[in-house]
């Protein structure tokens, strides 16, 4: 009874709880109540929740505040569609092991997979569907599968776990489904329901002309795609394995420094692809094409794979410095022969920096850190806080330094205020009263004085009233 394997057969994989799955994948079975919320018409509504939340009365559709009112321990996390998209990309790559025709629909959380061609390897669509459902379940995703000759029919079939073996059966099989299953926009859906249409078959019965007159061509076209009357070509997912790009230079480049700009563009593009595919590159090949001369080949190798443009550019810049160009350059090709799995943690230290100055410091830092250990080299930045000891903090070197320090304050602060006897000093100016910081529990009340010690150094001392009484030395004027 089964059709020949050459007939396309699509498997629809629905991931109805994707947003929640992404939050709960790491959680043990009976975890804490978690709910996903989404801002709908400026109200934060619950859109999904786990069984623990369900059991205390949290329901999809209720305002997040109401849900919070039901159970104090409820964790409400806002939906992150970006993360969902990335997950779909990953899952598409993962599905790639079962079919080389995988498609990610733009308008819903799920995947299409052509199962007809791989039937000999993985068995009938139903078998493969069950297997995918099980294995995705092990990865922590709730998946439902169904199959049919068209992707859209397969999607509908996935609601019920249906496997429709021929295009001719689609109409009959999906007829009893409720209207809500159709992939129509919410307004059309509602309008149809409000005209008394309840099941898919109610809609299939309508004359195309009458339908088009009321809803434009979209609804009728969609139904045709479901039934296979209209073709439904899908963009197939292509997992990136390598990266290659080239650029013709409109004007010849004669110095190696002038190559930086076009190269930066190429590296930018590469990094975008790396981020998109969650991969990293450890080596790059740059081919510089000359007129009437053999190409110049630059091979860059890194200590570890990276996605960071800044880091690639630093290395590239160093490399270019040593480069002597035999002839002007007319063309650049950039290739990453192998995209590697990216391991996180390489973000923090190197991010895009723009100025030459910064890059200089970075290189210095890279060298210093190599010698002294990473933790020993940091910068400082100003923090707007009246309390001197909180008016600065260490910063990582890629961060902007804010110069918010107050002009009249000493540039050197002691790591900790040191007790002192005021009689040892001559008071030059003051008091400056500081009372601040109640919000973090370290409210203080002190009077600062500029004083001079017997060696003629100008120092900064304060008299504290709160929390501990006494005189302290706090800074040194340069």
């Amino acid at each position: 009874m089964q059709k020949s394997t050459s007939t396309p057969c699509w498997l629809g994989i629905r991931l109805p709880h994707l947003a929640l799955d992404l939050l709960t994948r790491g959680q043990a079975r009976n975890g804490l109540p978690i709910a996903v919320s989404e801002s709908i018409k400026r109200r934060e509504l619950i859109i999904d929740c786990n069984p623990a939340a369900l059991s205390v009365g949290v329901k999809a559709g209720m305002p997040a505040t109401a849900a919070l009112g039901l159970v104090d321990t409820l964790q409400v996390v806002e939906r992150d569609t970006g993360a969902e998209q990335r997950a779909l990309q990953r899952l598409a790559a993962w599905c790639y092991q079962y079919s080389n025709q995988v498609s990610i629909p733009a308008d819903r959380n799920g995947l299409f997979l052509e199962a007809g061609a791989s039937e000999r390897l993985f068995g009938r669509p139903q078998t493969l569907g069950n297997r995918l459902g099980r294995e995705l379940g092990q990865l922590g995703y709730h998946a439902m599968t169904g199959s049919a000759a068209t992707p859209e029919a397969a999607w509908l079939a996935a609601y019920e776990g249906l496997h429709i073996y021929s295009a001719g059966h689609i109409r009959q099989q999906i007829g009893p489904l409720p209207l809500g299953r159709l992939q129509l926009d919410a307004a059309q859906q509602l309008a149809l329901e409000r005209m008394g249409f309840r099941q898919v078959r109610d809609l299939l019965r309508l004359p195309r002309k009458a339908l088009t007159r009321r809803f434009g061509p979209t609804v009728a076209d969609y139904l045709d795609r479901v039934l296979g009357i209209q073709a439904d070509p899908r963009t197939l997912y292509q997992p990136p394995e390598t990266f290659a790009s080239r650029m013709d230079l409109p004007a010849e480049i004669t110095t190696s420094q002038a190559l930086l700009f076009p190269l930066k563009r190429l590296v930018e593009e590469l990094c975008g692809v790396l981020r998109g595919g969650d991969t990293a590159a450890q080596s790059l090949q740059i081919v510089l094409g000359h007129e009437d001369h053999e190409d110049t080949l630059l091979e860059l190798g890194l200590q570890s794979p990276t996605q960071a443009q800044a880091r690639l550019m630093t290395v590239l810049r160093e490399r270019l410095e040593r480069l002597r160009l035999p002839r002007p350059v007319r063309e650049i090709r950039l290739e990453a022969p192998q995209l590697l799995q990216f391991s996180a943690g390489q973000h923090s230290l190197f991010m895009d920096t723009t100025t030459e100055h910064k890059q200089g410091i970075e290189q210095l830092v890279e060298r210093l850190q190599a010698r002294l250990g990473r933790e020993s080299v940091t910068g400082i930045t100003g923090v707007e806080d009246h309390r001197p000891e909180y008016s600065w903090r260490p910063r990582t070197l890629d961060e902007q330094a804010d110069c918010t320090a107050l002009a009249h304050r000493p540039s050197w602060l002691l790591p900790k205020p040191k007790r002192c006897t005021i009689e040892d000093y001559e008071i030059l100016a003051g008091p400056e009263r500081i009372e601040s910081g109640w919000w973090d529990g370290r409210d203080c009340r002190r009077d600062y004085f500029i004083v001079r010690d017997t060696h003629g150094s100008t120092l900064w001392a304060f008299h504290e009233y709160k929390p501990r009484r006494g005189w302290y030395l706090h800074g040194i004027f340069a």
Partner: protein
Amino acid sequence: MYQTPLYAELACTSNFTFLSGASHPQELVTRASELGYQAIAITDECSLAGVVRALEEAQRCAERGLPVQLIPGSSFRLENGSRLVLLPEDHAGYTQLCTLITLGRRNAPKGRYALPDSSFEHGLDHCLALWLPGDMDGEEEDALTAHWLTTYFPQRCWMGVSLHLGPDDAKRLARRFATAQTAGLAVAACGDVRMHIRSRRMLHDVLAAVRHGCTVAGLGYRALPCGERHLRTRARLAQLFPAECLEETVVIAERCQFRLEQLHYHYPREVVPDGMTPIAHLRELTAAGIAERWPGGIDQDLRDQIEKELGLIEELRYESYFLTVYDIVKFAKSQGILCQGRGSAANSAVCYCLGITEVDPARMNMLFERFISRERDEPPDIDIDFEHERREEVFQYIYRKYGRDRAALTATVITYKPRSAIRDVGKVLGFSLSQVDQLARNTAWWENPEGFAQRISQQGFALDNLKVRQLIHLVQAIVGFPRHLSQHVGGFVISQTPLAGLVPVENAAMANRTVIQWDKEDLETLGMLKVDCLALGMLTVIHRCLDLIGKKVDDIPAEDPQTYAMIQRADTVGVFQIESRAQMAMLPRLRPACFYDLVIQVAIVRPGPIQGNMVHPFLQRRRGTEAVDYPSEALKAVLERTLGVPIFQEQVMQIAMVAAGFSGSEADVLRRSMAAWARRGGMEHMHQRLVSGMLERGYSEAFAEQIFQQIRGFGEYGFPESHAASFALLVYVSAWMKCHHPAAFSCALLNSQPMGFYQPAQLVQDVRRHGVKVLPVDVRYSRWDCTLQRHRDSLALRLGLRMVKGMRKDSAHRIELGCDEKPFTDVQDLTTRASLDRHDLAVLAEAAALRSLAGHRHRARWEIAASEKPVAGLPLGGPDPDFVSIRPPSQVDDTRADYASTGLTLGRHPIALLRSVLRRRRAITARELHALPHGTRTRACGLVTMRQRPMTASGTIFLTLEDETGCVNVVVWPRLCEKQRAEILGASVLAVDGVIETDGDVHHLIADRVHDFSHLAGGLESKSRDFC
């Protein structure tokens, strides 16, 4: 001997510079007086909104023997960021200042001001200027500004130097002196104060964070560096400033001779004809009124009363006030706008003669002192209700007649309430939005702070947590802080001279509305006239109903027995005042049988009498189960009409007069201090006076205490008898209409929505129960308004297009016109002739208003989906070539759609559709429930049509459940409310298990447990009117 130097603080920012100053003006004044300052200037930024409160406080300080001069001033930001404080030297200077502020405020959107530096160059020659240079400006900029000042404020400007223990005060002082010397400016010390005491620093930071929209931790240098900007002791100031800087402040203060008390407000003059004195004109009008009101003449008592009133009015020079109000009322009447004076004005026979009030003084026991008293020295307050939909005409008349420069609305100061305080403070302390929501959701616990702490901990916040403690502390401190100025509901100030000379005027949020910077208490303090033009929906209803039945108010017979019979049955849905649940519960017990009973009925269901425990004694005496006795013969005269139980404010005053020897004016002071007592305390001297006065006159101490306790809640929450009588008139008229013309009355009610206590659904249910046929909205027969139409042999109520959700009035108007031309034949015809668009058609289809053109809702929706907006001259698409069969909606669907579109259904009650399911779940009907004996345990289920949590009921919620047979009144005690909040506040269909409590004809179901049955009704959008 060392003497602490004298000092005057000339720059204080109070919390009327919204979200800046961290102290009330009163606190600043009190503190200044305690510190022995010579004077204190309240100088909010481009505002005088806080000065009257400061004045009241200054007067109290003087009474306490610690006088401090109050200088009303204002500060302004110059273009270079430095600030200028302006202090009026004399009355002319004050007028100049008000004019400047008005200019700046009117130039900018609500809440802001715009004044270029050039606006200070002219027209301020009676103001002193104190310049506060900015810290960031260079010496050159400072020198320029100093020069500019000396040019435009010769001999009237100073440099104000403030020292707040900054980085190097000595250097700063020296620099300021140098600049001042070059420019020839004198230097005055200046606190540039933001709070009255140091400890307000936290609050100041919180306010700044709210203003900047960040957390306090994120304020950075915008937080105060220290708490020095408070009112410091003179000794402390002496250590900081050179003596001459302090002396200079006193010199300036002495030059400020203007006092707010000098403000003289003049009533508009045009209300008096040329060549006539105001009193003569008033007498003339009163005489004419007497002739009209009492064609048969009046007795001596009444004549004396009127004479006494006119005498007092003349003595206190209130003639123009009465004439102004008379003029407004005359205008309204000439336009056929129903109006009626309410409140204590009804205590005045003169007001009755002028047609301002409608309560016949010959029939009432009047207490004129409640209205005007010699000692009170403040203007009488006449409040007039107008038809709510036509009040704007009255406003426009006032603006037209007096001009926008002489008439403006009173301001209302919007202050922090617990809920808004928690939101703002929580946010800036860094609580998450959901935490803030959670805390702010229910603020009923606010009444007791321990409850607050408890509630917070119940919600999973650790009480020992620093942030939580700070939240509790700061919320308590910020509650009552002004937030912004809004417009009063209808209080007009009208003046002979331009208002800008008295008080600054600024823009309100509503276009074309201007408000003064003072609220009604401020006006009272300064003795300024205010006419309250209020909007009352019931007057609109009465007018509409009278039009429908073709009668006038005077045609309504007095004391109609059928009307009283209806009232006694508590059959009063829609009737003014006595339609609320609490009133309805009282009606069968009190059984009003005459007009005066209605006056009592209106007054007795009020927090005052309820909290004073006067309701039960009164009812028992009325039923004859308790003996009516009076403590003395004298009091019998006062209390006889209410069976010995004080119910009205006037009686409270009379008890004080008769039993404790108060004069009429003193008694009014007693009443007023009782109103204030709840807020401020400080009743001890009155208590003393009252009790000792009663003891002297031979009453027992126990009785005196009992009276005191009873009347305590009255000041604010009791009605004056006069007011109750005015309202009772409307009660009677509306009840008569409901009794004799139920269709017309409901029609008028529906056309005046939103108003009153009930949703249209309940009003329609009610009128149908009274046998009136209600016809659905139908595009072929409905007008915009609901109408009365002949249906078979009787008059039926046809619902109007206004009931349709989303219906636009202009589209409805075109439908009316098209309909008048000839009946619509089909949807296409309707679309073309009324030129409707898709939206119009869709809302009509949703309301099933196309039923006679397109059939049931499903088909109507299908039809209109095909219709397109007609293009001029082109025919429409025409019908579909193929017939499409469309399934009609089920009854449940139709009911649901009815509710979604019109908020009501004329089909079967939604609960009736569930009846078989409910039977299985053992829920009984309202009718069955009312037949059950007291104490029976049962389950009722219905649509939740009302939720109410009265202030007086400490957390108890009253629910009304409606089913196809009637309504069940449910009482939910606070404990259950806590436990089942979600169901109680969220369900549209609710089942309640509980015990029946019956008292006479009044039944309540006391809930033990509730169940949300909304799912049974499948998303029915029934709306409850919630008063929680």
